[in-house]
Amino acid sequence: MGASQSAGTEHEFQDLADRTGFSLEQIGNINKRFRQLSNNEETLSREDLASIPALDNNPIRAQIINAFFDKRNLHQNETGTVQEIGFEEFLMVMTHFRPAAMGLTEEERENLRREKLRFLFNMHDTDSDGTINLEEYRRVVEELLSKAGTIGQETAKAIADAAMLEVASTTRGKMEPDEFYEGITFENFLQILNTFDIETRMHVRFLHMDTATLRCGKSK
């Protein structure tokens, strides 16, 4: 029975590997971690992630955990959140943190960039309406400064306001006093982070594509 199960998972892993681009070994590692977090259950709940001790000190802990349960990040064209995620969904979220492969074309690079920025955007856009409004942005900054105590909370609003002003002024240019900037759309978001090399920055080494080649290099 054990054999058949492992054969099953192997087949499953191969399938996942084809779809996500991770290597079998990486998927195995992530799966091990997944089982560890979920206490060997098939699915992972918010509490499982919240109980990771290392996350305690992370100011944006809540947002990170939310990102795992956000349907938009799971490659499903729907909004809202789920309560529990399976291994496949877990892996899907992880794909956003894969480093760029060597020799990408301009177009592929741009796509990767959009995909990564979309993930960030979704983390900010909590009500899934396609814009980050001032309230949401303020919350982001507040979260970011949540470990800084009272000074943080006082300044957070000013910072968010200044940032929003900056977005409005860079994306709209001059505005009449009675015009209203309703919030940052994804296009605006791309625009303001134009100089921000997200494709080379948003990755976790663990999820490096080239682990296989790396080993080859060492064994040589």
């Binding site: 971690r33 992880m94 983390m123 609003k157 929003m164 002024s169």
Partner: protein, 806 residues
């Protein structure tokens, strides 16, 4: 004077000629001093002449005293010398000043000549100037002074440049690429040294080159001297080509960190050249020595850096000497490291990089500016001098030109650099996530410029131990000239040709800062979820340790608690405020953003419908414009007020409290302005807030609903009724006046208290207790005192009110 005028005249050819003249005059002037210097130093008559009457008189005196030894003392009185010349007395500092002046004028001159600096790098021009100066000195038949003396170079000229580089080292990209940089700096330099040295030795053994007396060890020594990329040259050239940050930090980082390798190799080979052979034990000792030299240098630097940070914690009462600590501690670090033959460059880099975040939090803004300017000034003068001296030394030095040796050196340096970079990148790319492309490799290889460090090291060689020292020096100079002239001049067109990614000049925006921080935390979080302790995890740990313990010890007051984002925001705000002050104020809005978008554009407008109905008196276009104009002129005034306060803060207040105070004020100005704009839109704002006007305004700005609640609850407070039926009636304008007046009186309430009390009693009474500025708190009971304390002064105040008091 006429030359000066001509410099600015638009006729290019003529001004060029005049400039040439100026240059020539300068050279002749310098020439003259060298001449006198030569004359003065020669121990014959001229010295006596120079020292003037003083000596002569004393001699005379003694002579007289001697001849009349047993007779009476007769004092022959001479005329008191009204003017005497004693050049010898001031010679050294005078000449130093002249050289510095020459360097600065040259730097100035190049930037006056249009287009020249875009074609030829400054370093090349400076070397040419040095050659000219050296040539002129030689033409005058004088001994060319040994300007690029090793002591002078290593103890005076090099440290400012390295400190400047270390203090302003972009830590983040440097640490992110530290592996690659170390690889290039250590392995690359080793490879270069042995490849060049070894092959050079092989070439020397070929018959017919007349070089058979050159042994292996001197060759290796030469290789180690010539193989190190020079930070001065790299900085000078790379600063002008604006390459992207990654490539810049790779080449520049390499040039800084290879110092340890060079130092060890140099001492190792110099030592064994005498002994004649190297045993395996020596190699192991060399490796250990390398570790000690590099790590020891870093440790020395870090210790001095921490000391500097700790000292700066206590300087809040003597702000003037703050910048000095930065310089002195760094220089001490450099000297201490050099004392033990550790890597002084690494010590300086470590010292600057360690002290900077803490020192910056401690010292005042002005001190920070001072540090910045002094470092930039010193380093640029040093750099200029170094290149000029290189030219002079070229003319001065005895040369032993050997075609084979020189050309082989140049070729080998190029070849080994290319092989080294390509080979190392092949290995490094396996570990890098952002791969180095072929273009990148080319620029890294091509940017490996050699410079004055190599020359000075060669100059240090003992003539007796190394009979081929002159030949080495000639080869070194040729290699330096080759890299600086050929590579330095062609690298810019090549960068353009290859379309290498350039540096983005955009200044860091607050959004980027937010997302940098956000991403850091996000990646740390993902690593934690993966259960993988990667470098984000450790960086986060280190950051928290830094925040918890180190910052507490090294940063004075409460500022250590300040998170990076807030610090960034404050810095940005401050910078903009300063820009505002410098631009004369009034042109830009004093908001945190240089934009035409104001706060209200992004504020969610959640006006209750009832309010909206009640609140919007319909103005005709013309009327609206008129009101806007009135408001705008008022705002202009408040901006001027802000500026005058700024000036005061910047000039008179030496303490940082002034800055906090200023921030507070600025905040208020913004809010005031916000309200003004809002008023012009809605004209719905009732008067007389229950608490401080500022508070109320803030609340109003953030949440209109809350505002109306307050309004409802504060019945006892006099409010102004808007006559909705006739929006153009004098009443509505009156109301506007009331508001503006309130805005104005907020600021000068002390002064105007008495006057306005008669007009609108309750309102002003209410306001007087508001206490807008902290300074004025407690001054409420004493209007006279308050007037003294309120900053803009009475005259300003009156002006401000003018539009509103018909």
């Amino acid at each position: 004077m006429s030359v000066r005028v001509a410099l600015h005249s638009p006729t290019g050819s003529r001004s060029f000629l005049e400039r040439g003249l100026l240059l020539l005059v300068m050279l002749i002037f310098l020439e003259g001093t060298v001449l006198t210097l030569g004359a003065a130093s020669s121990p014959d008559i001229s010295a006596q002449d120079n020292t003037g009457g003083g000596h002569d008189r004393r001699d005379d005196h003694r002579g007289i005293a001697g001849s009349h030894e047993h007779t009476n003392y007769t004092y022959t009185k001479k005329a008191f010398p009204v003017l005497s010349l004693d050049y010898h007395h001031i010679q050294v500092p005078f000449e130093i000043s002249l050289w510095v002046l020459l360097a600065s004028l040259m730097k100035l001159g190049f930037h006056l000549i249009p287009r020249l600096s875009s074609i030829v790098p400054e370093s090349c021009l400076l070397i040419v100037v040095g050659l000219l100066v050296g040539g002129l000195i030689k033409l005058a038949g004088e001994e060319v002074p040994p300007v690029l003396d090793s002591n002078l170079f290593f103890l005076c000229l090099l440290p400012p440049i390295i400190l400047d580089a270390g203090y302003f080292l972009p830590i983040r990209p440097f640490m992110e690429n530290i592996g690659t940089i170390l690889m290039f700096a250590v392995v690359g330099t080793l490879w270069n040294a042995f490849f060049v040295g070894g092959l050079l030795y092989a070439v020397c053994q070929i018959e017919g080159t007349y070089l058979s007396q050159v042994e292996l060890l001197p060759c290796l020594l030469f290789g180690s001297i010539i193989s190190a990329v020079d930070p001065v040259a790299v900085l000078a050239v790379f600063e002008e080509i604006h390459i992207n940050e990654l490539l810049h930090i790779l080449v520049f980082g390499e040039s800084l960190l290879n110092d340890a390798v060079t130092v060890v190799l140099y001492h190792l080979f110099e030592e064994y050249s005498g002994a004649g052979e190297v045993t395996p034990t020596d190699v192991i000792l060399g490796v250990i020595c390398f570790l000690i030299v590099s790590l020891g240098g870093i440790a020395v630097g870090a210790i001095y850096g921490i000391l500097a940070a700790f000292t700066s914690r206590f300087t809040s009462h003597t702000r003037v000497i703050e910048p000095l600590f930065v310089f002195v501690y760094s220089y001490m670090a450099y000297l201490s490291a050099e004392m033990f033959h550790l890597s002084g460059i690494m010590a300086l880099i470590a010292c600057g990089a360690v002290m900077r975040p803490y020192v910056e939090a401690n010292i005042s803004h002005k001190s920070h500016t001072t540090v910045k300017y002094f470092l930039k000034m010193w380093s640029s003068v040093s750099e200029t001098l170094i290149f000029i001296f290189l030219g002079v030394a070229t003319v001065a030095g005895p040369h032993a030109w050997n075609w084979t040796f020189v050309s082989v050196t140049v070729i080998l340096c190029l070849v080994s650099r290319v092989i080294g970079v390509v080979g190392l990148t092949f290995i490094i790319n396996k570990f890098r996530i952002v791969k180095l492309t072929t273009k990148d490799q080319f620029i890294v290889a091509y940017g490996g410029l050699r410079g004055a460090i190599a020359f000075s090291l060669g100059y240090l060689l003992d003539k007796d131990l190394f009979p081929m020292r002159t030949m080495f020096l000639t080869a070194i100079i040729t290699e330096i000239f080759f890299t600086v002239f050929v590579q330095g001049m062609t690298i810019k067109p090549l960068v353009d040709l290859l379309a290498v990614k350039k540096k983005q000049e955009a200044k860091r925006s607050i959004n980027e800062e937010i997302h940098t921080q956000f991403l850091d935390h996000l990646l740390t979080g993902i690593e934690d979820i993966c259960g993988h302790y990667g470098h984000h995890h450790w960086k986060d740990k280190l950051n928290r340790f830094n925040k918890k313990y180190i910052k507490k010890c090294l940063i004075a007051g409460e500022r250590y608690k300040e998170p990076q984002l807030i610090a960034f925001y404050h810095k940005m705000e401050f910078k903009q405020a300063i820009e505002l002050v410098e631009s004369g104020g009034g042109v830009k809005l004093p908001s945190a953003m240089p934009s035409q978008v104001s706060m209200q554009n992004i504020q969610p407008k959640k006006l209750p419908p009832a309010v909206a109905e009640r609140a919007l008196p319909q103005f005709t276009k013309g009327r609206e414009e008129e009101i806007r104009k009135i408001l705008r002129s008022n705002l202009q005034k408040t901006r001027q007020r802000l500026r005058s306060y700024n000036r005061h803060t910047l000039v008179a207040d030496p303490f940082e409290d002034g800055w906090n105070d200023f921030l507070l004020k600025k905040q208020r100005m913004i809010e005031l302005e916000k309200k003004m704009t809002e008023m012009s839109n809605y004209l719905t704002v009732p008067a007389a807030p229950p608490d401080s006007p500022t508070m109320c305004r803030a609340r109003l700005a953030s949440d209109p609903n809350a505002f109306y609640n307050i309004k409802a609850s504060s019945d006892g407070v006099p409010t102004i009724q808007v006559d909705l039926a006739s929006p153009q009636s004098p009443d509505s304008v009156n109301m506007l006046n009331e508001f503006s007046k309130r805005g104005a009186t907020d600021q000068g309430l002390g002064q105007r208290e008495g006057a306005t009390r008669d007009e609108d009693q309750g309102l002003m009474m209410k306001l007087s207790s508001a206490g807008k500025e902290e300074k004025e708190e407690g001054g409420n009971k004493n209007p006279g005192l308050m007037r003294c304390l309120s900053d803009p002064g009475p005259s300003n105040e009156d002006e401000e009110d003018e539009p509103f008091l018909p």
